[in-house]
């Protein structure tokens, strides 16, 4: 009798602790999620009728929250936001499969968006508004994702040591006169993969490989650090020219570290290939998930984000160019001048991604 009692009480204890376990986890998760949620507070009742849209995003700017608030005020649709690293968000979408709660995925780089498409996580959207707002080359060929903001991958040079008239094309960087002068980050980074993929698309595999090999020969040091570190290395005198994304210069100019601001002030921005095929561009974009439960609301949000009203703020949050051609870029970006960009469909960046990674590994670009 006594023994039975202790066993029963132990089992009870176990159940209790399990209950505590789940009790401890779920409300906490919700509580945290609530923090991130963008609530259209005063119109709560209206919201419930109009429904919600669930967004997975790798962006984390306060201005986005304001923008989504505007959307909620206009449409009565509540937006729930889950933030994460882009690769992890895609992995989670894949893991969740049919059961996902996500309706939209916002992430940087066409290569990544394409990966989500290939993994069958997205579905096509047919919307005249989106077709009008987003130029054809900035969206997926099957309309599974749409670019929202544009960045260029440009040359950043030392104002002291390099005369911009010496600069011309990406290909010129492989010239022996730049030996030991080129700074660029690791090839495991998707921006470099997409850059090389664009060359494969435009010039073919042979030429692309030659280019990668040439850059490796001319590198000032083994690839390390992120894009900002390349600009810093230029100013520190480790090399003369860095290959990097435009928005990082904007971020550095607005850094909390005054030394970093100085770095950004001491470099120039050059858009290569202006006479030829144009500067490499990429997007961060949005796609409708394959198993979206709030499809209509989701498309409304996509349309809103591509609209003239939202684009300026959305792009400026990250010092990027708006995808919508009728919206002007910020003053800083305008100060660098207009530029001609590669005229290829960005889907190709994703399609040639594997090939690009292979080439990088073959030529030993770390």
């Amino acid at each position: 009798m006594k023994k039975n009692f202790t066993i029963i009480s132990l089992i009870f204890l176990l159940i209790l602790s399990l209950a505590f376990l789940s009790g401890c986890s779920s409300p906490k998760e919700e509580a945290v999620a609530n923090n991130e949620k963008v609530d259209g507070n005063n119109e709560n009742t209206a919201n419930n009728k109009k429904g919600v849209v669930n967004l997975y995003t790798d962006r984390h700017y306060d201005t986005d929250e304001q923008l989504l608030k505007v959307f909620t005020e206009e449409t009565g649709i509540k937006v729930n936001v889950v933030k994460g690293k882009s690769d992890e968000l895609i992995e989670r979408l894949a893991r969740e499969g049919k059961d996902t709660e996500a309706d939209l995925l916002i992430t940087a780089d066409a290569g990544r968006l394409h990966r989500a498409k290939v993994q069958e996580l997205l579905q096509p959207v047919s919307s005249e508004i989106l077709f009008n707002n987003v130029p054809e080359n900035l969206r997926d060929r099957d309309n599974q994702w749409f670019g929202l903001t544009v960045r260029g991958r440009v040359l950043v040079y030392s104002k002291d040591r390099v005369n911009p008239s010496e600069l011309s094309t990406y290909e010129d960087l492989t010239n022996s006169k730049w030996k030991g002068k080129i700074l660029v980050r690791s090839s495991s980074n998707i921006y470099n993969q997409s850059l090389l993929a664009s060359f494969i698309a435009i010039h073919g595999e042979e030429k692309a490989k030659e280019w990668a090999k040439g850059i490796v020969t001319n590198m000032a040091r083994e690839p390390k650090g992120n894009d900002r570190a390349q600009a810093t290395a230029v100013v520190a005198g480790e090399g003369d020219i860095a290959i990097m994304n435009t928005y990082y210069i904007g971020k550095m100019l607005n850094s909390s570290n005054p030394e970093e601001v100085k770095v950004a002030q001491n470099v120039g921005v050059f858009f290569p290939d202006q006479e030829g095929t144009g500067t490499h561009i990429n997007v961060s974009g949005v796609g409708l998930t394959k198993y979206a439960k709030n499809k209509e609301n989701a498309i409304k949000l996509m349309e809103f984000l591509s609209s003239e009203k939202a684009q300026k703020q959305f792009a400026e949050a990250n010092f990027e160019y708006p995808a919508n051609p009728s919206v002007e870029p910020s003053d800083l970006l305008k100060s660098w001048g207009e530029f001609k960009s590669q005229n290829i469909n960005l889907s190709l960046l994703g399609e040639y991604n594997n090939k690009a990674v292979e080439i990088f590994n073959e030529v030993g670009w770390k």
Partner: protein
């Protein structure tokens, strides 16, 4: 009849619980090992051809050099502290443990922020003296830099274990050598090193396991090693199969290491050289050598604790207005509550397992305690992948149950919840709680247990009324050790946490990776302060036991 009774006796609640825990520990890891025997996919061939060699070479280089340097630093310091008297010896004796309070990933970005072009040192030289230094000498984001970081912040493992061995057990040997006219260097080389071999190897294998487990430092420095490769293959290539295959290789390396450790220790276990345990009589160093010893200790203490901490304090002052918001308290709450809860759970499980294996001293219980301890040697990246695969399978097979409880239930209940993370913590840190509780039981012995049973109490009653009160200190110290390890933990938390669930550690690491090193300072500092307090606490306990 007798046999049935015996079976019945063995099948009590303790054995059932223990069995369930052990199975839960094994299953996710078995999953990984089995992957080794499936046929590889195309991606794997690519990895094998171009990348695998780098992963192996880099990982081996890191562990070889870190191992070597921690041995040199750890043993020389423990020798100095235990055999000589010099200024501030008593302070350094415990201060030299403090580098352990700073997790290597925090040290990594602090040092980078200190040394890089926009950091304090270079800006000062540039702005005040107009000196442009060669970046080569200030570049910590390299393999050598990683070896420096690991050495400076992991050597206390070797130092503490070797020191406590020397203090307790080598007095007569060393004094005899002194009497026989050997000088200090000879004693160190021919007496200290050989007798403390087992202790040194024990310490250095902990260091190596930590290096293999590390994700934060190598990710931040961009060094391709196994742990970064596993995450890259998994997330960036979306290829969980090849990631598991890499994990299997890493696990194989770890097991080789464990066997090697056994082999190197030989039959020499920690055993007293004499029955009488007494400290070495310390030699007083003369003035100049005393100052040298002091400087040596000071340099290591500064590099391993003082400098990075001061830098973090400085950055905290720059950013506290921006950082200390409601969200920050949320981080604190997350960190503390998950560490408290997991540590509590781990201690309970460790108690059940330790109690079971001490009552039933047979092959099974020995196997159980081996398995429990192995969990700690499996790197976080490997546990993460094993646990996630396991939980997704579990969710798929329990879907009917979820439906039964709630018709609108999602399929992935457990694998999107925090339970998965707590489960992973349990696999990794159970060993720490277990070791501490096991040693508590060893001290108490079985006499009281047997007496209580003879007087008619059941195992469970005895456990609650007799054993538990007696091993309270062991339980408490086990709890604290696990708590601080979870607070510092990075790779598991980073990967297995539910979305929008941030802790101090993950937030600090994310800030640092977004190149917002200043903003990472306060979270890092809180982790360090809590660790320092607990380390001090342990030092006091350990010190009391010696005296």
């Amino acid at each position: 009849m007798l046999k049935i009774n015996k079976v019945k006796q063995n099948l009590n609640i303790w054995s059932i619980c223990s069995f369930i825990f052990i199975v839960l520990i094994i299953l996710p890891n078995l999953n990984i090992l089995l992957n080794f025997f499936s046929s590889p996919n195309e991606n794997w061939n690519h990895i094998k051809e171009y990348l695998l060699k780098d992963y192996i070479v880099n990982s081996l280089k890191l562990i070889a050099f870190t191992g070597l340097f921690t041995i040199l630093m750890g043993t020389s310091l423990s020798w100095l502290i235990s055999a000589y008297d010099f200024p501030f010896r008593a302070f350094f004796k415990w201060a030299l443990i403090l580098p352990l309070a700073i997790p290597p990933y925090i040290a990594a970005y602090t040092y980078n922020g200190l040394l890089n072009y926009t950091g304090v040192i270079q800006s000062f030289l540039r702005n005040s003296f107009n000196i442009q230094v060669n970046q080569k000498y200030f570049d910590i984001m390299s393999e050598n830099g990683a070896i420096f970081i690991f050495t400076m912040f992991l050597f206390p493992y070797v130092y503490t274990i070797t020191r406590s061995f020397l203090e307790k057990q080598s007095a007569s040997l060393i004094e005899n050598a002194r009497v026989l006219g050997r000088n200090s260097l000879e004693i160190f080389l021919y007496v200290v090193l050989p007798v403390s071999r087992a202790a040194i190897i024990g310490g250095v294998s902990l260091v190596i396991l930590e290096v293999l487990n590390d994700y934060g430092v190598v990710k931040y420095f961009g060094i391709p090693t196994f742990s970064t490769a596993i995450f890259k293959t998994w997330f960036a290539m979306g290829d969980i199969e090849s990631a598991a295959r890499l994990s299997a290789i890493l696990m194989f390396m770890v097991f080789t290491l464990l066997v090697l450790e056994k082999f190197l220790r030989g039959r020499k276990k920690f055993s007293y050289t004499t029955a009488e345990v007494r400290p070495i009589s310390r030699q007083k160093l003369n003035k100049s050598t005393g100052i040298l010893a002091f400087i040596y200790c000071l340099v290591i203490f500064s590099l391993g604790f003082l400098i990075p901490t001061l830098q973090l304090v400085h950055w905290s002052f720059l950013t506290y207005r921006k950082i200390l918001s409601v969200k920050f308290w949320g981080l604190m709450f997350n960190s503390l509550s998950i560490a408290l809860f997991s540590a509590g759970l781990i201690v309970i499980i460790a108690l059940i397992l330790a109690n079971y294996s001490r009552i039933n001293e047979n092959l099974i219980s020995k196997l159980y305690s081996k398995i429990t301890v192995v969990g700690y040697s499996i790197p976080g990246a490997v546990i993460a992948i094993g646990v996630i695969v396991f939980f997704v399978k579990l969710d798929n097979s329990m879907y009917w149950l979820y439906k039964l409880l709630n018709t609108n239930s999602d399929k992935l209940v457990l694998s999107t919840s925090i339970i998965m993370l707590i489960f992973a913590y349990t696999i990794r840190f159970l060993a720490i709680g277990y070791n501490s509780i096991e040693s508590g039981f060893e001290k108490v012995g079985k006499k009281f247990f047997e007496a209580s049973r003879t007087l008619g109490m059941t195992t469970t009653e005895t456990f609650l009324k007799v054993d538990l009160p007696m091993i309270k200190p062991a339980i408490f110290s086990g709890f604290l050790l696990v708590f601080v390890d979870i607070l510092k933990e990075l790779p598991l938390t980073l990967i297995l946490r539910p979305f929008n669930f941030d802790t101090l550690a993950t937030k600090a690491f994310e800030y640092a990776n977004d190149e917002m090193i200043h903003e990472a300072a306060i979270s890092s500092l809180i982790i360090i302060i809590i660790s320092v307090i607990l380390i001090y606490f342990f030092y006091r306990i350990g010190d009391k036991e010696v005296n």
